[in-house]
Symmetry: C2
Subunit: 225 residues, 2 copies
C-alpha cells in the first residue's frame, strides 16, 4: 500500500485534497507492480477501479473493426487510466498495458467519485487534465491523417527522445508491430521507414535501441509529413 500523502508524483488533483481526504483516498487505493506486457485494464471488462500510473510506461489501446488493436497513447507517470470509462460508462472502452516495469495505483471508483463531488478544486484539476488530454488527441488525429509513415515514425522517435527518455540515445520498449499499431501502419512499413530514416543518416537503429544522429533532419521529416 502506497502512501499518497508523501507520493512524489501524485497528481495536481490530489494536491488539491485536504489531509483527511488524502487519507480517505489512500485507504481506498492499492499499489501494484507490473511487468512489461501485463494488463492494467481490459477493454470490455467491468470497471470497478480507475488506475493511476505512478512509475513506468504504459499504452492504452483499443480494438478496431479489423480485430487488431490500435495504440491510442503512450502513458507516462502521472496519467490516469480508465477515468473516461469509469465516470461515464460501466464497461472499459479501452485497454491499458504496461510496457516497462511500472507501478499502478488502483483507486476504488466510488471513492474517487466521492472526492469529485466533495472537493470542487479536485474536480477542477481533473477537468484541466481531461481538457489537456483531449487536445493532445485532436493534434494526434489531424497529424496521423496528414502525414505519411516516415513523418509519423519521426514523430514517435522525437516523442520518445524529447518527452519520455530525455536523451538522443534510448530504447523504445515496443515491438515493430507495436510501433505499427501506434502510428497506424503495418509492421513491414515500419521496418522500411526505419530503413529510410537510417539511410538518410537521421537515426541509427539496432533492435529496440534508437539513436538520433541528425535531430534537425528528423524534425523536418516530422514537420513536412
Amino acid at each position: 500500500m502506497g502512501n499518497c500523502s508523501i507520493c512524489a508524483i501524485r497528481s495536481k488533483a490530489v494536491d488539491a485534497l485536504s489531509p483527511t481526504e488524502v487519507e480517505y483516498l489512500q485507504g481506498n487505493c492499492a499499489e501494484v507492480d507490473m511487468k512489461p506486457g501485463e494488463s492494467i485494464i481490459k477493454e470490455g471488462s467491468l470497471s470497478s477501479h480507475i488506475a493511476y500510473l505512478k512509475t513506468g510506461l504504459a499504452t492504452i489501446h483499443k480494438k478496431g473493426v479489423k480485430g487488431t488493436d490500435q495504440i491510442l497513447k503512450i502513458l507516462q507517470p502521472g496519467c490516469y487510466i480508465g477515468m473516461q470509462t469509469v465516470l461515464s460508462n460501466k464497461i472499459h472502452q479501452y485497454s491499458a498495458s504496461a510496457i516497462e516495469d511500472s507501478t499502478i495505483c488502483y483507486i476504488d471508483i466510488t471513492s474517487f467519485k466521492d472526492l469529485i463531488s466533495r472537493n470542487a478544486q479536485f474536480a477542477n484539476e481533473l477537468i484541466l487534465y481531461l481538457c489537456r488530454d483531449e487536445l493532445s488527441y485532436f493534434a494526434r488525429f489531424v497529424n496521423v491523417h496528414q502525414k505519411q509513415v516516415d513523418g509519423r515514425l519521426a514523430d514517435t522517435i522525437l516523442f520518445f527522445s524529447d518527452e519520455v527518455k530525455k536523451s538522443r540515445s534510448f530504447q523504445i520498449p515496443l515491438s515493430r508491430n507495436d510501433i505499427a499499431a501506434l502510428i497506424c501502419a503495418t509492421r513491414e512499413s515500419v521496418t522500411r521507414s526505419i530503413k529510410d530514416l537510417s539511410d538518410i543518416g537521421s537515426i541509427r537503429v539496432k533492435g529496440k535501441s534508437f539513436e538520433i544522429l541528425n535531430y534537425d533532419l528528423l524534425k523536418i521529416i516530422s514537420e513536412k509529413g
Copy 2:
C-alpha cells in the same frame, strides 16, 4: 440575451446550478444567431469565451501540416465549444463553424471557471461531458484507421440519419470537400465512394440530399470497413 433558467436544451451541468448561479451565468453570456459558414471560434485566436451550441449544427475543425483543415466532429445542440482550450490554454486549438442556422451562447470564461470552483456538481457534470466526448474520439480514431473510404462514408451517412436527422431521407449540409475533411479522404474519393454506395443500391444521392435505400447493407459496409 437568452434566458438560461427556461432554456429547453440547457446542459446537465447547468441543471446542477442554483437559481442564483443560473442568474449569474445568464448575466455573463450572450446569445448570437449564426448562418452556415460563419465562424464560432477560430484556431489561433485568444480565447475569452467558451461557446455553447443551443440550436443548429456546427463542426469543429483543425489545421494540419498540409495546411488544410480536418473536421474533428459534427456538433449538435448541447455541445460546448472551446472548453478544452479555454481551461488549459489561452489560445484556441481548433476552430468551429456553423453549418446550419444556429444559435450560440457565448459564456465569459472567467464566470465559467468561477462556477466550476464554486459548484462541485457543476464540475462533476462537466467531467462526465468531457469523458464521454473523449471516448467518442477514441472510437473515431480507431475506426478511421481501420476502415476504408466506403466504410467511413457509410458511417457518416448512418450518423446523419440515426443521430442527427432521425430520418432515412435527409440533407447533409456539407460540401463534398467537407465530407472529405470529415472522413479523412479527398473530394474525388468521396465522389467515387458515393457512386459505389449508390451503385449497390444502398443509397440514393442528389446533391446534398441523401436517402438510405438499404439500411442493413449500409450497416454491413460500415461495420466491415
